[in-house]
Symmetry: C2
Subunit: 243 residues, 2 copies
């Protein structure tokens, strides 16, 4: 985490593209939710089935809001070619036709883990802390600058790595979940890499002052905090049902 005092950083000129990129990449390296104790336990294989189901149910609340935040980001762009490019993210999650897309694949993950679609869609088991974190992220994308909203998406820089680890962990430790339930994770490896390279190029092009660069780094830290807070709430579980 940054040790420079705000007054010191604000007086400097813009970082070089390489230094700026390095500072952006350092954020998920330090704060990404793969380090969260709940995720560590997930990948170690020590989650109980009920804990894994709780994660699938609560993380779905995040997943179903991805196209919403991406539509809010798209609405900030005044250029057809940029919107056309960002629109693909909405299609990745909603699918081009019924029965496709990331949300559908998450529903299948739920089914593979014994959670039927109606239960997952209902949202009745979504924890208050998860709702707050997701609302916070959607509102950040609604109200922030285009630069901040795009920079927040840069957690995708770390997504392909966590997806590969997760697939291995599930195949090794959670064999009670059918392998074809993992297609969401598989598809995100390629999509996350492509999306994060695109977003990184935009952020580097748009943030031309030190202040803008710092705002981009802060947005990415915020997004890491959102993902971390999700796992805090999931790890603790419902009030009155602490393990």
């Amino acid at each position: 985490m940054s040790t420079a005092a705000p007054t010191a950083t604000r007086t400097g000129g813009p970082w070089s593209p390489d230094e700026f990129t390095g500072r952006l990449r350092a954020v998920p390296a330090e704060r990404y939710h793969d380090r969260h104790p709940f995720n560590v336990r997930m990948h170690e294989g020590t989650l109980e089935p009920g804990e894994l189901r709780r994660w699938i149910i609560n993380r779905f609340h995040y997943q179903r809001h991805i196209p919403v935040k991406d539509a809010l980001i798209l609405a900030k762009f005044d250029d057809s070619s940029l919107r056309r490019s960002w629109l693909r993210r909405i299609q990745d999650h909603d699918g081009l036709v019924e029965g496709e897309g990331g949300i559908e694949r998450w529903l299948r993950l739920g089914e593979a883990a014994g959670i039927d679609r109606a239960r997952l869609r209902s949202g009745t088991e979504v924890l208050p802390g998860v709702r707050l974190a997701v609302d916070g992220y959607v509102n950040f994308c609604r109200l922030g600058s285009p630069l901040e909203a795009v920079a927040a998406s840069l957690t995708e820089l770390a997504a392909p790595g966590i997806m590969r680890t997760r697939i291995e962990a599930f195949e090794l430790h959670y064999r009670w979940i059918a392998a074809d339930g993992l297609s969401y994770f598989r598809d995100r490896i390629g999509q996350g890499g492509r999306d994060s390279e695109e977003a990184l190029a935009l952020v580097i092009a748009w943030a031309t002052t030190r202040r803008e660069q710092e705002a981009a780094v802060a947005a990415l830290r915020f997004k890491c905090d959102v993902l971390w807070s999700l796992l805090d709430a999931i790890d603790h579980g419902p009030a009155g049902e602490r393990p």
Copy 2:
């Protein structure tokens, strides 16, 4: 325009789907901008080239914001199939690839009328009243309910008709504009009919109380006012340059 007092209408139960549809269709029949003096002159063929160019330049400010308002509407939907369907409207204007889409076709209309792309894109000639009307519409879609935002789009019920009349008028009266500049109007005949049928079905399904039905009618009246105000500003022209 409705003659019923608010207190009287609020005490009634919901209108039948037929009556509700009739009241919605009555709004553009009464208030659509095809009745505006400037549009009447346009279709009569009495606009000067400078007036027609002023309309193309200012109306482009509206056109380029259509995908923005549609993204804001899309962000209100919590259902993949509904978002997938609405997303097509964004694609209609931005195109599936570079060089396609309604915004591109409007740029070609400008070129056919002697306005180069850079001039049209710059927005420097957009009138204050046009900016206010477009901002008002985008913010209505940003802040209103899904029902209101979708109902406001129902001016499309009248769009195919005005497009047909416009194409005939341009071909007859404004032959200095090359015919292939009119492709935007041609494409909107089919798109407008399809979009308005889809939106009408949603509005009828969603507005189940009289209060909601009245809100939908009010949203459509508001949208007619937006389009009317655009033409007011265009008709008057820049301050200090009144014809």
